[in-house]
Each structure stands twice: as C-alpha cells, then as structure tokens.
C-alpha cells in the first residue's frame, strides 16, 4: 500500500465550501448531541458498549450515504430490522441508481419476513440496468408517521438521486444524514480523502451530513483488532468535520469484543450470501 495513500491525498479545495452549501455546524441542530456514555451492559467480562437501536434515538428519517462499497446497504437493512423489532413502523428505501449489484433488494425476503416495506426501483435486480426511481419514494418523505431508512447510492453520482427529495427532507428537519466510512477501502484510507468523498456527496445530494458511522472492515475476515485500530481515524473524521461519531458498526461475531474498547457499537448481521466458504 506504500504510495496508494499518498497518491490519493486530495486537493483541499473543499475546505472552503462553495456558496449555498450549509455548513455542518448549522445542521448539527438536527442531530442529537453525542451522548456522554452509552447504555453499558455489564457482562461477565466487564463493561460492554454494545448499543441497542432503541438507545440510538434515531430521527424519523435516517439516511446512509458514503463511498461505494462502504457498507451502507448492510447497515440500512440491519437498522431497519432492529427498529422494527422495537415495534416501530419502518419503511426502507433503496435509492441506488448506480450499482445493479449488492443492494437492498437482495435482502427483500428478510425484509418481507420482518414486515418492512421495501421501496425500490422497479428495475432493481431485474438485470435491466436502468437508473430509475419509483414514485413511491415520495411517500417516504410525505408520510410522516413512520421511520424511513434510506440507502443512498455510492459516491456523489449515487447521491444525485437524493437531490429531488432534499428540500422536503430539510423542511421537515427530522432526519439524520449519516456518512458511512471504511478505512480499509482503497480510496478512503485517511480522514482527508474520506472528507473529499463526503463533500462530493453533500454537494450532489443537497443534504449536509449530521453524523458519522464507522464501518471499517475487511469483509468476513475482519478481526476485532482490525476495527479497533480504525477508531482513531473515525475520531479524526469526527473532529475535522465537527460531526458526532454516531456508531461503530461491527459484524456480530466480533461486536462484543470491539465493544469492550469502543463506544456505541452496533452489531450487524451480514446480508449477502455466497455459494462458497473460502
């Protein structure tokens, strides 16, 4: 990896935001302040910072965006199902118009079984590569008596689709826009390059971020140590952006171990299944 990080170090043009883009500070009002200490479950091995979704106090609309391959879809599906288990009325929407693979629609059966409606392109997983969004997406914004989890497509190109819903979402002002980050992705190995992706998404989507989700992972092989090592990166992101680190999402088999060290750990069930084991 020598050289890869250096070469991707971004130009710092976005440090000064273009006119018309609200600053993160202003929108922090839409986001709950970072909690001092989270629900700490005592276990036989000491304290754990595993968090139940209930304790996250999510806003009505929870939007997940980030670099493609950062893990947005998996998190969105998990949070939706967990909220539903808490007895909430939840709907999930797939706004990905870029990538025809690995999308929310892959979890349709699981979502169906949980009783969570999925709003998705009629063309999703049809193998027809048409970037189209369904009309039903407006109901997510307009029908305000339920939680809406929105999975925004990768990068700025994917976030463009968010633009047409942005005015209504900003007006209602009961949303959180979460930036999903993964230090192990090749184009976001440090805070500076991740900030570049973040600014591009904000400009394209028209909604400023309100928080950060550290989903740093190496796929199925991820160890607890792999995740713990990325906490400094996530905190640097939080510091540089002035945004709270909302949670660290970790695959469930190592979540407890990570939660001994890092606060606000949300365990994830991995969604996409494979035919092979190794």
């Amino acid at each position: 990896m020598e050289g890869l990080g250096e070469a991707t170090r971004p130009h710092m043009w976005w440090r000064k935001r273009p006119a018309g883009i609200p600053t993160s500070k202003k929108t922090n009002a839409a986001c709950p302040p970072p909690r001092q200490i989270v629900v700490a479950f005592s276990s036989d091995k000491g304290y754990s910072y595993l968090v139940k979704v209930k304790a996250m106090n999510f806003k009505r609309l929870v939007l997940f965006a980030g670099h493609y391959g950062s893990g947005k879809t998996n998190i969105a599906v998990n949070i939706a199902i967990d909220l539903k288990k808490e007895g909430k009325n939840v709907v999930i929407a797939d706004l990905d118009i870029v990538n025809p693979y690995y999308r929310t629609k892959d979890s349709e059966q699981e979502l169906n079984e949980a009783g969570i409606p999925l709003i998705s392109s009629d063309y999703a997983n049809s193998n027809v590569d048409v970037p189209a969004l369904p009309q039903a997406l407006y109901s997510l914004v307009d029908q305000k008596d339920r939680y809406g989890i929105m999975d925004i497509g990768g990068d700025d190109r994917g976030a463009l689709a968010l633009g047409r819903y942005a005015p209504a979402i900003l007006e209602e002002n009961n949303y959180e826009m979460l930036l999903v980050i993964n230090k192990y992705r090749p184009l976001t190995p440090d805070a500076a390059s991740t900030m570049e992706v973040m600014r591009e998404i904000e400009i394209a989507g028209g909604i400023p971020f309100t928080g950060i989700v550290n989903n740093s992972n190496l796929g199925r092989e991820t160890t607890a140590d792999d995740v713990i090592k990325t906490h400094a990166y996530a905190m640097e992101m939080a510091k540089d952006t002035g945004l709270p680190l909302r949670m660290t999402t970790v695959k469930e088999d190592i979540a407890a171990e990570v939660a001994k060290v890092i606060p606000d750990v949300v365990p994830l069930r991995l969604q996409n299944k494979r035919l092979w084991n190794d």
Binding site: T8, P100, Y102, R185, P186, G219, W276
Partner: protein
C-alpha cells in the same frame, strides 16, 4: 507484508495495473466491469496518467494500439459484448506484435445477454477471438488477490513475448469484495527497441504494421509469431493443484467455478470420495502437462464451468481422451452450486476403476 485493503475485483485490477506501471487506460463503460474505469478515472489524474473514456469500445482498443506502439504499458477493459466489439483491434494488435492488457469481466451471452457472471467467452479468449492465426496470453484469476498478481504478471508476459494479454474474469469476481494486499508486483524490463519513440535521427525508423501484401513475407511473420507461441506454451502455463495426490476424480475448474468446486471437494471427501482439482490459471497456454499426467491416475474428470462446456474439449485434448470428462455447469448468469458439483462427482465415482 503490506497493509490489507478491502477491494472489489474490478478496483483491484485497476490498482494493480497502476502499480505495474500502466499509465494509460482507455475504456467504455459496461456492467459488470465499470468500476475498473471508475477507479482509473479517480486515480490516473492524480498520478500523471491518462484516463480517457472513449466514444466506443472500438475507439478505446485503437487508442491502446497507439500507446502500445510507443512501448508504454496500456490497458483497456470491458465485458463480453464490448470485447466482441474490440476483437478487430485485438487482432490488429496481435498482427502488430504489440503488448497490452485487455480485461474481460464476462457476463452472460450470447448477444447482449445479461449482467450476471459467466465464463462463456472461453472459446473467444483462448482461440484468439478475432480473425487470423493468433493467440492471447490468457490468465483467469480466482480471487481478488489473484486479480492483483495476475494483472501484473500479464503485463510482464505480454512485453516479454510481444503479445497482447487478456485477463479473463467474470461478473462475480469483478464485483465481489475481498481483503487484498497490493504487493509482490514486479515490473520487468523487456527490450523495447521496436517501439515508436522517435529516432533522434540516430537510427532507422521503426514501423508497426499488420499489413503485408507479399504472401511470403506475411507467412514469415506468422511463422515467427508461432515460434514465440511455442515458447509461451513451454514456459508460461500456470495451474494450481488441490488435493490431487490421492485423487480418483479430478475436477477441472477456473475462476469463480473453482471456488465453488472447493466446497464440493470437501463435501465429497467427507463422504469418502477421493477427489482433487487442477485449476488452470493460464487458459492459454492451457496446462496440458499436469492434466496428461493425472489422466493415468484418475477414473474421470469433471469440468465445472459457467458455460456450455467450452473447456471440456481442452481437457479431452490435453488427456488424449484417456478418461471420461463429465461436466457440472450453469449458464446465462447462474453459478453452479456445490451440491450440483457434488452430484457430478458422485456420478463420476460410479465409473470404472482406474486403468
């Protein structure tokens, strides 16, 4: 050991190409390989390289001919229908004896087909693909890590023998994410005295051309090229053997099919069936020697493919039809399941004892 990153297969190809010294990429988007181009578009401007989205696949391959003529490392990528469009240019490239890397992240066909994974361009890749007598050096990775190492290797071999190389993957490998280390990449330095780099008035100018209207001269070009192909067949076959020491049944599978096959092999061994696998890593040259050798020891072969059995005849040829060749396959974008492969292993095991 270098730090690991989580990469899509398509991204790994692009990064490996950059690390292997490729500074020119020309392409045209097509699912499921678009991330190769997207990654190049982000990276190339930052390292002084050239990313250019051409107006068509045909334009892109011809741009590659231009860069390759100057002796620089150049790559293009596409998926099945796009590769068909490039074939004219690939044939010209072979005729001009130009090294370059062409990446094919296959999808189901024929025609426009679908966007799900396939290995149905096996014939196209291993028999040349375009018009005329020629071969490509063809590598078939089975993991994202191997997409890194084989991308770099293909550039080196292409330059060593002055032939175009192809990396043949499928939509699953292109799209799936695995942790990889971008390491172990060596950039070999081969003779480039043939390249169009300007003479400085100090030497006779080079000509890069695939046209000769003198039949005897054109014949000589072909014969000289086939001498290089002989050397490639002698020196460059690559394969992996898996649990072949005591095998009664030999699976032959490449790319994603070999991943599925490993599961089936473990399941079969749990049932007491001795099965192993020879995984071709180069598809041309095909690893004939290990297959010929194991044909004396096993009862039967089972090819596992995402096509209608295009590799079956290569196995039959390599083994001189010594043993029956069964097949477990799916097409159209479907992947054989380990259960399906296991069922064919069980069938193969019912055949007569080793002769």
């Amino acid at each position: 050991m270098a730090d690991k990153v989580l990469m899509k297969g398509n991204e790994a190809i692009a990064e490996a190409a950059i690390m292997a010294g490729c500074r020119f990429y020309f392409g045209y988007p097509i699912t499921p390989q678009t991330e190769v181009a997207a990654y190049m578009a982000k990276r190339m401007p930052k390292i002084g390289g050239t990313f250019l989205q051409a107006e068509s696949e045909i334009a892109a391959i011809n741009m590659c001919i231009g860069v390759a003529s100057t002796g620089k490392r150049v790559m293009t990528s596409s998926s099945s229908p796009g590769i068909s469009l490039k074939e004219e240019g690939i044939s010209y490239m072979a005729g001009c004896d130009l090294p370059a890397l062409i990446v094919n992240v296959e999808r189901g066909g024929p025609g426009l087909g679908g966007i799900q994974p396939s290995q149905s361009d096996y014939f196209q890749a291993t028999r040349g693909g375009g018009h005329g007598d020629y071969h490509l050096f063809v590598v078939a990775p089975a993991s994202v890590q191997e997409m890194v190492s084989l991308t770099a290797h293909a550039f080196n071999v292409a330059e060593k023998y002055r032939v175009p190389a192809m990396l043949l993957a499928d939509g699953t490998l292109g799209q799936m994410m695995e942790p990889v280390s971008i390491e172990g990449i060596t950039v070999e330095d081969h003779d480039k005295s043939w390249a169009l780099t300007g003479t400085d008035c100090k030497r006779k100018h080079n000509i890069i051309n695939s046209l000769s209207l003198l039949p005897e001269e054109l014949e000589q070009w072909n014969l000289e090229r086939y001498k290089r192909y002989e050397k490639i067949e002698e020196n460059e076959p690559m394969w992996e053997e898996y649990m072949t020491e005591d095998a009664d049944i030999c699976i032959v599978a490449f790319g994603i099919a070999s991943r599925v096959s490993r599961n089936a092999i473990k399941a079969a061994r749990a049932q007491g069936i001795k099965v192993g696998m020879i995984r071709p890593i180069t598809l041309w040259p095909f690893p004939k020697k290990p297959l010929a050798a194991i044909a004396d020891k096993v009862k039967a072969f089972v090819t596992v493919e995402l096509n209608m059995g295009q590799m079956v005849e290569d196995v039959e040829l390599a083994t001189r039809c010594k043993k029956p060749v069964l097949m477990a396959n799916r097409v159209g974008g479907c992947i054989p399941t380990p259960e399906q492969v296991l069922a064919q292993i069980v069938e193969a095991n019912k055949l007569g004892g080793a002769q």
